[in-house]
């Protein structure tokens, strides 16, 4: 269909119920879609969870993903935020090698530039925490990679439409 293949960030509001998350994940595997990242957490209403997922595909595939998600009984709202004005953040925790003073300085310099934080220290490693959008996180990782990454964890993206854009999540109904 549409050959334009790119990453989409999809936000889903769903009943906070056992089975709801399973249903969403199984939908992806059953229909052969790939999830790149997935994040789940409560909203301001503890009975409702927000799932933020990143999936790659052409326009047709993404449209299908959105529609298939909307069909699920436990799902309230699904929205493709890719082209919306949004706040889009990811948390990274990464442990890097700093066996030499030069490396220690380099990490401190990068932490400074990126507004990150050193949250754990051992004699030869720093553990850094960074919050930012996907590009910032990628860029940071790119720069510290040569120092030697011991271990890392990323949360996947969470996103929310910006206020005062004339639209909020709540205004769009399920269908």
């Amino acid at each position: 269909m549409d050959g334009h293949y790119r990453k989409h960030i999809i936000s889903v509001l769903v009943e906070n119920q056992p089975g709801a998350l399973a249903r969403i994940i199984e939908l992806f595997s059953a229909r052969g879609y790939n999830i790149e990242s997935l994040n789940v957490g409560h909203t301001e209403d503890p009975t409702i969870s927000r799932i933020t997922m990143v999936a790659k595909g052409d326009e047709h595939t993404i449209e299908q993903i959105v529609k298939q998600l909307r069909r699920l009984i436990d799902v309230f709202k699904v929205r493709d935020l890719t082209d919306k004005k949004k706040l889009d953040r990811e948390l990274l925790i990464v442990r890097v090698n700093v066996e030499t003073p030069e490396k220690k300085d380099e990490v401190k310099r990068l932490v400074d530039i990126f507004g990150a934080q050193i949250v754990d220290v051992s004699h030869d490693t720093y553990t850094v925490e960074l919050t930012g959008d996907e590009e910032q996180v990628d860029a940071f990782l790119e720069l510290i990679k040569p120092l030697g990454i011991r271990e890392m964890a990323r949360t996947g993206r969470v996103a929310m439409v910006r206020a005062l854009q004339g639209e909020t999540f709540g205004e769009e109904s399920k269908h």
Partner: protein, 580 residues
């Protein structure tokens, strides 16, 4: 009122209007079965849980009500799976209740424990595990609501044994209040702007075709679709699931489309400039090679499930809504548009003539014989003897396609067949469910020798409960449909399709307490059918020994476009005619 979980369940079923259920007991549902004799509900004990699921499905398909089945945990639940998947893919409202191990044992690999909600999640519209008896009534209520509203489907409710034993409050009045599911609000009414657009397109098209699917039948829109065709002179074709929406003898009806569709139906779709899909989903058995399906047509797609729209074929005018409600709005709009356009009927008449000429030149055809019984001949005779009025269930294979082609249906919900899943073994238990749902009708199952053997134990169920279904086994000694594919596409390498060893179906059925009959010559067909029609206290099974290597035509080869049909030979005089 204080009731046990089992009592709450049965009371809720009663309030849902459930009168007949199909099931099979076991350890995890003992408490339910203990209370069952005291409920105003008739339980049909099948001989396999798959039979219970198919029977509930057949019951739902002919009545339009929700079908209900029961099974125990573990193997009971897994035995339901094929039946539930069959109903779900054909959008049939079924609610299944399964027992499970007590809540405190869940996850322990206890005796007869399986993760039933996990297993059935991909084959149900929704499912529930009830962990607290206090939630039971509300869950049952939601289950029925979800099964029958929107795009109908299967809902499974898993009931741990302790939940059925414990006591809770139950208030009838509270149960009767409307269901609220805040995240589930199906769209029923079509968008007025889209409906206007559709009406305009219908009035201005030169070569429109109505492509009618199962959603038309299930929403009760059959009469409206026919009316639309009549008001705007539109040829109609239907999918296997949509066949009964249109009277088989309607002058605008071209029969089924798709892989074994008629020449006229497939050509009309290919040449159309406007395809009006009503409750149909552009399934691959319908479209053939998708990119060449109706290549010049604009598409109006009416469907209650927005995810079906644009899934396989982009729609120019999508209308999300219930087919009946949409057509109620669309019809007057089309009448208005048509009245404005004087030229309308002339233009349309040309198209109708063209479509009719296709139907006349290449009708359905088989080589008649007075030596061997032709399977198509049996179907035609069943139609004659039942005056076209019987509810027909089928199994899966060649006999199913011949039934779709040769039985001319008269009223909606008259055909019960596994379209989406193609489940062999569906026919007999579905016939039982159909007969239980419509005892006033003759119910005829048209089966194959292979398929019959997949659920023939249910004949015992029919004997046990005095359900006088009729079964015609189209016995070609082959897994015929698979043989046909091996014949055409695998160089006649008939691998594992010959049913060399076959039971004596007559004796077998007699042993089960039914009546077994057989016909081996064309001259016997009518006689034996009449004999079967005269028996009304027991199931009758007729073994029709038919031509063994008859093929189903037309046939669109897999991956082919609809106009690339393989046609029957049309005997000698028409032998040179070829599909365009």
């Amino acid at each position: 009122m204080k009731l046990s979980g089992a009592e709450i369940l049965l009371k809720a079923l009663e309030l849902e209007g459930v009168e007949k259920i199909f099931g099979y007991p076991g350890g995890a549902v003992l408490d339910i079965y203990d209370r069952l004799p005291f409920a105003p509900i008739k339980h049909y004990l099948t001989r396999h849980e798959q039979g219970a699921a198919h029977a509930a499905d057949g019951y739902a398909r002919v009545t339009g009500k929700v079908g209900v089945c029961f099974a125990t945990s573990g193997p009971g639940a897994t035995n339901l799976v094929t039946g539930l998947a069959t109903a779900q893919i054909d959008s049939v409202p079924v609610v299944a209740f399964t027992g499970n191990v007590p809540t405190f044992m869940i996850g322990n690999d206890a005796f007869q424990e399986v993760d039933t909600v996990g297993i059935t999640r991909p084959i149900t519209k929704h499912n529930f595990l009830v962990k607290d008896v206090k939630d039971l009534a509300d869950t049952v209520k939601k289950a029925f609501h979800i099964a029958r509203t929107g795009r109908p489907g299967v809902v499974l409710v898993d009931l741990p044994k302790d939940v059925t034993r414990e006591i809770a409050d139950f208030f009838e009045e509270e149960y009767k209040t409307p269901v609220q599911i805040r995240s589930y609000k199906p769209v029923l009414k079509g968008h007025p702007g889209q409906i206007k657009k559709a009406a305009k397109a219908i009035a201005s098209a030169e070569r429109p075709v109505l492509y009618i699917g199962g959603g038309t039948v299930s929403s009760g829109a059959s009469d409206l679709v026919v009316k639309l065709a009549e008001v705007a002179n539109i040829p109609m074709t239907a999918t296997l699931m949509g066949l009964t929406a249109v009277p088989g003898n309607h002058p605008f009806f071209l029969g089924m489309l798709g892989m074994h569709g008629t020449y006229a139906a497939n050509m009309a779709v290919q040449e159309s400039d406007l395809l009006i899909a009503v409750g149909a989903r552009f399934d691959d058995r319908v479209t053939g090679r998708l990119k060449d399906f109706a290549p010049n047509a604009k598409v109006i797609h009416i469907d209650i499930d927005s995810a079906e729209i644009g899934k396989n074929r982009a729609a120019d005018i999508p209308i999300v809504g219930d087919a009946k409600l949409v057509l109620e709005e669309l019809l007057p709009e089309v009448e208005r548009q048509v009245a404005k356009n004087r030229e309308f009927y002339n233009v349309r008449q040309k198209w109708i003539m063209k479509v009719k000429s296709w139907a006349e030149r290449y009708p359905l055809w088989y080589e008649p014989s007075d030596r061997v019984i032709k399977p198509q001949f049996v179907i035609q005779k069943i139609w004659e003897v039942t005056k076209g009025e019987a509810i027909i269930t089928t199994d899966v294979g060649q006999h199913q396609m011949w039934t779709a082609q040769y039985y001319k249906f008269r009223y909606p919900r008259q055909l019960v067949t596994s379209g989406g899943l193609g489940t062999m073994g569906f026919g007999v238990p579905a016939a039982i469910g159909a007969k239980v749902g419509r005892p006033d009708k003759t119910v005829f199952c048209i089966s194959g020798d292979g398929s019959f053997q997949m659920n023939m134990q249910e004949i015992v169920t029919a004997v046990h409960h005095n359900i006088p279904i009729k079964v015609a086994i189209i016995n070609n000694n082959f897994l015929g449909m698979v043989r046909q594919w091996q014949g055409i596409f695998y160089d006649k390498n008939y691998s594992q399709v010959h049913l060399d060893v076959q039971p004596d179906f007559v004796k077998l059925v007699e042993a089960m307490g039914g009546v077994g009959l057989r016909a081996e010559r064309p001259a016997e067909v009518e006689k034996v059918l009449k004999e079967a029609m005269a028996i009304n206290d027991r199931p009758v099974v007729i073994d029709f020994i038919v031509d063994r290597e008859e093929d189903v035509f037309p046939m669109v080869p897999p991956g082919g476009a609809l106009n690339e049909m393989i046609l029957p030979s049309y005997g000698k005089e028409k032998a040179k005619k070829k599909a365009v």
